[in-house]
Symmetry: C3
Subunit: 293 residues, 3 copies
Amino acid sequence: MPSPVIAFLSDYGHADEFVGVCHGVIAKRAPSARVIDLTHSIPRHDVRAGALVLRGTLAYTPAQVHLAVVDPEVGALGINARRAIALRSAAGPLLVGPDTGLLMLAAEWLGGAIEAFDIGHSPERLEPVSATFHGRDIFAPVAAALADGAPLPGLGEPLAVEELCGLELSVAQPLDGALLTHVLRCDHFGNLILDASHEQLRAAGMRLGEALTVEVAGSGDGGSEIAGSAGAERGVAGEVHPARYASTFADVAPGELLLYEDAQLMVALAVNRGSAAALLAVARERELLVRRA
Amino acid sequence: MPSPVIAFLSDYGHADEFVGVCHGVIAKRAPSARVIDLTHSIPRHDVRAGALVLRGTLAYTPAQVHLAVVDPEVGALGINARRAIALRSAAGPLLVGPDTGLLMLAAEWLGGAIEAFDIGHSPERLEPVSATFHGRDIFAPVAAALADGAPLPGLGEPLAVEELCGLELSVAQPLDGALLTHVLRCDHFGNLILDASHEQLRAAGMRLGEALTVEVAGSGDGGSEIAGSAGAERGVAGEVHPARYASTFADVAPGELLLYEDAQLMVALAVNRGSAAALLAVARERELLVRRA
Amino acid sequence: MPSPVIAFLSDYGHADEFVGVCHGVIAKRAPSARVIDLTHSIPRHDVRAGALVLRGTLAYTPAQVHLAVVDPEVGALGINARRAIALRSAAGPLLVGPDTGLLMLAAEWLGGAIEAFDIGHSPERLEPVSATFHGRDIFAPVAAALADGAPLPGLGEPLAVEELCGLELSVAQPLDGALLTHVLRCDHFGNLILDASHEQLRAAGMRLGEALTVEVAGSGDGGSEIAGSAGAERGVAGEVHPARYASTFADVAPGELLLYEDAQLMVALAVNRGSAAALLAVARERELLVRRA
């Protein structure tokens, strides 16, 4: 019988022992479980980037349990102000993490959350629970217990699924024959992942191979969420950049902008051998107006 | 039967193949062993930081063998000048690494070293032993052999436990109604881990929630150990900073200094959404005078 | 029976989820396989560095399958322009990766490639194959299938071994009583790995312990390969630096240059507590003239 698999994603980075200690905690509680580190380089506190990356990995792991930890910046209330949760998805896989919306795109991709539990006082938690390291003290032990076969209902207090904190994503909108899109996420290459779909691009009259323009529109608006730390909003509103609707980087010359479908099937802006984030001087949340040239 | 577990900590970083090669060596010698990477981001050559982090992880791993490699900077004698050792602790777990004091806080936490062996000429070592990569050639093979069940006494020459190189940690001292503490370690967030205990703070009259002051005292003194590379000692002696004795970051405003108990139960100084190391402009070894405001 | 082992090397870095997703893909296809991450910090697009590191790790892993992914920069044709291949070596281990020469030093070390297959349209590949992430869509699934016991011939179209893209390495040449060497690779410490052998040094009259000079000779010449991104060729031609032919760093004073055999048994130039790359201001491909002082 293959080992149960826990997929683990966080913003802990590799500069400290946080990830290793969580592995230790899991190995103690569930000696036969196997942990796949999806990434621990989610930009710190960037719940939305974590949610998008987590969703994008689901098709590629056999995990029975998804453990994800990205907390908002420690603010006036601290991380104790948000619930710690475990969910069962309609497709089967379990999700463990903070109730910040981080798990919700994944839950939706898996058919929706059908059971939810508040695990903040789980019998599996490690005492004393520290103020800052819930990954070690709450999330990893509960994920390990689930991988080890512990029944979900014994691990926390039941919650109504409707009470869970959601994650609102913007949606691109047609505007005067163009498409008004928003930057959902900027990856480490400076590629800008947008909220547009190919259907929307097609509906706005754009065809693969065509020349486009990308206009930096208005100022960024973080809405209810705190802007990422890299989120300098320096793009000059009204600036127009030529681009191409292409299938691969090789379809444009080095230094040129392309609109393409990335490996996670998201519509994205990139620069061949360069950085779209740097070229447009924009970051998360920024509005961009894409139209035929 | 669960796999034997080796916990692995080093200052090798992730920029090279050092960690991966050690994993390969272990998998060859002990195919059923499982390796947990605690961290490989100990500041290069910082034996004390390695010893403190290693001790702090012990409660959270099921490892039978702890493999730790942090060597002092290659100096006039090179790394061949220090012994390679393997220890059995009173609590059972085995410790493998250089005889630089790196293993000694962990050994003490585990009830003390009760057996010690010089493994520099272990029959398990890989020939030819390189001048610079003892992790691959000595430490990993011996740790793997132990995980695979090889008896410790066959792996080296017996040493008296008293001959082992110790690790001296400073201890905070009461001084004129204040507490004179030292920075043991600076983590990657700029939090300063101190040598004070809550009992000492209480004895000096400080109570949770109270306002404090932190005075930068005298100049840093690395003692017999080389100061960390990040150890610019720029703090202005006599400078006094307001702080608060708090339980969580959220108890102070952003940018403010707090004295708190960190997730490893150590007393530490931090700045909410900032860096205490930067604010005080101090690093390892520096003396700080903490008193009620 | 021990788990099959896949050794995995790439230039993916740790800033994204690429490595983790490949682990997921492997765990899905080959639940019992174990993956050893050799390194994912090969300089981006540096096929030669990848090939050298891969070869250097072979003696230290029990892997049945070596998975390596380092692609040249996306150019006019994109990564679809190169074949995806799987090879069987004379010694037994299988090699999976792009047909860019990356696998060829390893294949040679393992006695040569005796069977080769084009896996670009492998039945194991994940559809749709993305334009940019063949590690996930082609290489990892094929490596996993091989680790799971799938016969190599069923995984692709047969290729003549002679058709495989080779990797030319320069060779040091005697010149007027000196040795004209080339920098094959620069590691993360600034050590310069050369194409010279100890036999060549000896034939040119150099003996361990002797004083040498290292002259920066001519300008760098990337040949048919694109120079690494760090490849600023700033060394002043004709500049002569004193050095010593030594066995360990400790044989020279801090700041001094030494020629030594590194842990992979390659001849290399280093500076004790410093960077040879910075001291000589040279990078990959650069010619250096080494002679007795």
